[in-house]
Amino acid sequence: MRYLPLTDADRRDMLATVGVESIDALFAEVPAAAQHQGLLDLPLAMGELEVERRLAAMAAKNTVAGAVPFFLGGGVYRHHVPASVDHLIQRGEFLTSYTPYQPELAQGTLQYLFEFQTQVALLTGMEVANASMYDGATACAEAVAMAGRVTRRNKAVLSGGLHPHYRAVCETYARFAGNKLEVQDPAPGGGEDLGKLIDADTACVVVQNPDFYGEIRDYSELAQLCHRAGALLVVVVTEILSLGAIKPPGEMGADIVAAEGQSFGNALNFGGPHVGLFASRERFVRQMPGRLVGETVDAEGRRGWVLTLSTREQHIRREKATSNICTNAGLCALAFTIHLALLGEAGLTRLARLNHATAVSAAERLGAIPGVKLVNHSFFNEFALRLSKPAALVVDALAARGILAGVPIGRFYPDRADLADLLLVAATETVTADDIERLAGGLAEVLR
């Protein structure tokens, strides 16, 4: 078997050195009843060719985003990742290395994570960021928990504009931690008054910007209301590229930012693995979950990096840890760092403008179709359309025509008839004028 270096001769020699007759002797402490005789009912070993054939067959049953006009967003965005990114992350020293607990052997990992932390802090306008979380949704739940620790309160107000998956994960975590959530109704078109929901028990208010429907708002006033009441403002960002074009949460007075970084460096991957971003004010850093990389010097006075403030984490604090987290997003964070390094300031702002321009063009073209109404006042690269027919049916009909038209919001709210006609459409730099025409044509036909 190609991955197993031991030969039968090796095994014989080694068993003799160990001083046992057979390998079974080394499993003697396992209750006989629990040891499976023979082989489990699974296929036998396959060579590469066979594995490729079978998996390629499964892959071929999926409609690939790049092969059709593609307009899905809803928290995962299709962007072009430069070719160098994937090559660099596949270098064995990045791909197959372990968590940098021995810093002398891991300065590569530690340095790029320090660069990543800096990039995230700069993008979000916040003072400090950690070395990544599993994804945006779990980062959001951890932000709520952190706000509770900082304020020593246990109630959180969640905006109706928060991504439904993020809201759902917060609900799960809160239920088991014994925290209270006040979840607002979904609010396409706005109209929430979150300020009046803040009271002496509120640990934080959680908003998303741009929100789930794509609307962009300034939360500076809400931040002030929170602070006056001793509460924190948590801002969620699901499309991190938007921060290349719009006012960042840090400038609005956010205390914690929980975001999804998938748009830089990471493919759609059917939803995972992605990369959670987490940033906050510096004075809260000891309450921050996840890993942190810090700068230091070595025994010869040279600059280097180490994991730091580890005493917050599970391997030391155990049941008193800020979180039970052990891994970060590792390689996905590296891909983010490399992509952003390639873009730089100029490239990021241009890419963001390109996305917005594409979305503006799409919104204009689609909004002009009978039976289609744009809901948003503002948007970055994603907006909501109200259709004259149920969005899910429209999407299915268009899929049958080879067009992936967007995300029907009803998928997230199956019990809300009033949301069933809403379609979320994303238009990134990967969308062409031709794609928009095909979608427009298809929509016009289906809505006739």
Binding site: R286, T308, S310, T311, I316, R317, K320
Partner: protein, 125 residues
């Protein structure tokens, strides 16, 4: 001369009138390694004997500091928050943590004296 008392968790207590000054022992700081951070309670807080009153962290470990006595926190040592190295340099003196107004001064009688504590330390693995 105010006598020192000790707990099995390596805290020391020195009585000054109706106030007890508390810190961690020299043995404790040597076990912990370089102290990097200290979390102290707020003055006014009421603490109970045996319950967590503070946290002391080194790069590799975090330890609870349990209050050896019951009473109200009247002062905390901000110096060790600003410069945690003081805990290592002078654990028994300048590295003090908390001052507590004792609810019951007789509580100190139940704690180890210096001789008993030295014997206790000698037994540690």
């Amino acid at each position: 001369m105010p006598s020192l008392r000790f707990t099995k968790d390596h805290e020391w207590v020195r009585q000054e009138g109706d106030v007890a000054v508390i810190g961690i022992t020299d043995y404790a700081q040597s076990q912990l390694g370089d102290v990097v951070y200290v979390e102290l309670p707020e003055p006014g807080r009421h603490v109970e004997q045996g319950k967590e009153a503070a946290v002391v962290e080194s790069a590799k470990a975090a330890s609870e500091v349990y209050s050896p006595v019951t009473g109200e926190v009247v002062a905390v040592n901000d110096d060790i928050v600003a410069d945690p190295a003081k805990v290592n340099a002078d654990a028994m003196g300048e590295g003090w943590f908390i001052k507590i107004r004792l609810d019951d001064p007789k509580q100190l009688d139940g704690l180890m004296d210096e001789t008993a504590y030295q014997a206790f330390v000698a037994e540690q693995p």
